[in-house]
Symmetry: D2
Subunit: 207 residues, 4 copies
Amino acid sequence: MNEVISKPVLDKGWVRLEEYMGADSAVIRAARICYQSESKSDDADIRLVRRLLKSDPKHNTVFEHSVFRFNVKCPIFVARQWMRHRICSYNEKSLRYCTADREYYVPADELPDRETYIQHMEASFDLYEHLVEQGWKKEVARGILGTAVYTEFIWTVNAWSLMNWMEKRLDKSAQWEHAEYARAILEIFHQVMPVTAQAFEEFILVK
Amino acid sequence: MNEVISKPVLDKGWVRLEEYMGADSAVIRAARICYQSESKSDDADIRLVRRLLKSDPKHNTVFEHSVFRFNVKCPIFVARQWMRHRICSYNEKSLRYCTADREYYVPADELPDRETYIQHMEASFDLYEHLVEQGWKKEVARGILGTAVYTEFIWTVNAWSLMNWMEKRLDKSAQWEHAEYARAILEIFHQVMPVTAQAFEEFILVK
Amino acid sequence: MNEVISKPVLDKGWVRLEEYMGADSAVIRAARICYQSESKSDDADIRLVRRLLKSDPKHNTVFEHSVFRFNVKCPIFVARQWMRHRICSYNEKSLRYCTADREYYVPADELPDRETYIQHMEASFDLYEHLVEQGWKKEVARGILGTAVYTEFIWTVNAWSLMNWMEKRLDKSAQWEHAEYARAILEIFHQVMPVTAQAFEEFILVK
Amino acid sequence: MNEVISKPVLDKGWVRLEEYMGADSAVIRAARICYQSESKSDDADIRLVRRLLKSDPKHNTVFEHSVFRFNVKCPIFVARQWMRHRICSYNEKSLRYCTADREYYVPADELPDRETYIQHMEASFDLYEHLVEQGWKKEVARGILGTAVYTEFIWTVNAWSLMNWMEKRLDKSAQWEHAEYARAILEIFHQVMPVTAQAFEEFILVK
């Protein structure tokens, strides 16, 4: 078990790398199997990883042997976009079985009617809790809670799929709130898989 | 292009089969390729399909050549569960680009405070529309809208993955609102892929 | 069931489009769902498809609602590379249950010792048939048959995954024999999904 | 990096667990996220894992957070079946870039004409090496080498997908040579993920 690396995101969220395996060395291992070649030096290994990511079409499979498990806390509207990415595994806090915690995203900006927004979210939780007390099933009562409410999930993803997610969520067309998560995870990616992360920035993100 | 088969679900939702290819004949085609055998009779073909689904472990790949495209309208909380199924393709109405329609699920039962629930949902839409007018981005303002709000998506799925979804969503542990969609789609499945649907009921659902 | 489009490939192989659904119209349908917009004209639809494929990062999901079923006959060494592509479905002739047909790939070029190659392949089949007669299991006796032997399979694949396969197999680094199959399928792709095929050539292949 | 666990399989093959993450604890972690519950005792955790695997329909996603990387050496005909399993990642020794080693599977039984089989395999390698010397591309010359030839690959797979592979390859309908690999990996599975492995034997394999 590796040490957990944690980053706060938005007003109440986070990303935490709980465990990973392989990292840059798994990419080199996989590539060396294809060519039945030996590592000659660290420099040669670094050049190999960079060439694999830069080449067109890219050798995606060698990046799939490096795997990460993150714990994420984010607004439901971010989680909904996130879970559209399918080449990975999720387990999420269930509002069928758990009572929702009174935690929701509040935009940081000086937006008009920000207080009204907060009051409405509070009223939603008041009503939600009342309906559950009145005997409504939690899975139906949750229908009034907005998608600004925070959720939490476990995400296991390989490096190739992770880069695909970052590419899409760091694009200028992505929602700012989601991009904040991608920026936090990119920092963690640099810490644990530095050669690939560097090549990803140079060859994929700058396009 | 096949004729659209449509079923209403819940108070304002639906499932619509827009197009499909293969059906039972694709299963037979795929199995006959493996064994390089010829169809001898309709009865032999039916027995073949039933044996493939009944056998343990099952021959999932032969059922993957039959593909369906559905159009679905359902509450967001149903869509969230639905999109956890990954071996299929989705495109959903985006509340980043579209303004939300004032349509939300209202439970049919004689629940206490049902009117309060409706009033709160209406107030949510009032505030949502107000915030958008005040210049909030739609993608942020939507955070106050509950997951009872209806969404719409296109779903392309092969028969194997469809049966997996139905098995999970027709299970007694599934949320009733989601099971209503599974029941409607099971009816359509019987109409367009009758041999497989019959075997699915007998060998998978009854377990 | 659509009409089968067939192309010969290599000395004894082929690709055949047996059935498909959606084509360009499914891409437009899926994109229109996201934006809840109406088709205004054919020209607008064409521009939409082109923009979706050209944009970076690309909107892969809208291309997944168009699905093809091919029948392919190719040497085993081509099939082995082909089946590394995982976002699609295969069913292949099984040499556990079927006796291998005496059909193998012979390179067209004026290679030295081409006759020796042919004689050796014939000798392999002689021995294979002898071993099976002697009571060897077909699944073990096949071990002496080279990967130049032809196999046959059914391939169901969506347009996005198909383009990914073509991009990799039309690359200059691909094996020539495999690229021949990709060129044949690209021609069929142009026939049945012309707008996407054109955009694919312009925005993806030329890179 | 964990210690490598290695098992010999067939006459010249092996399976080696090079690295893994999560194991039983990742299943528990994922399940506890869903219910936002705390581990009370080891016994409660074991009961939880067993219930998740036994329930019908099964909770596959919680088993996906445990991931393994194996190194496998096996005959090509086994690798061909193996790589039909798609929810995992492979990188294989390439006979486009590497010269084939003279290593092939010889059935252990007292089969008639076993010596003739060996002589033919040796003759195949003689001709292969000759053709390569004559200037044939390795990727074409390999066409005469039988699928009994050994190959080597890296396989990264999560526990759910691994159990699916074992279920199919330990079935009485599976080829004996492939089942030998499944039996070796089942032993390793017991060593590193004992609670899940035990439940797998009891609830899945015995059916």
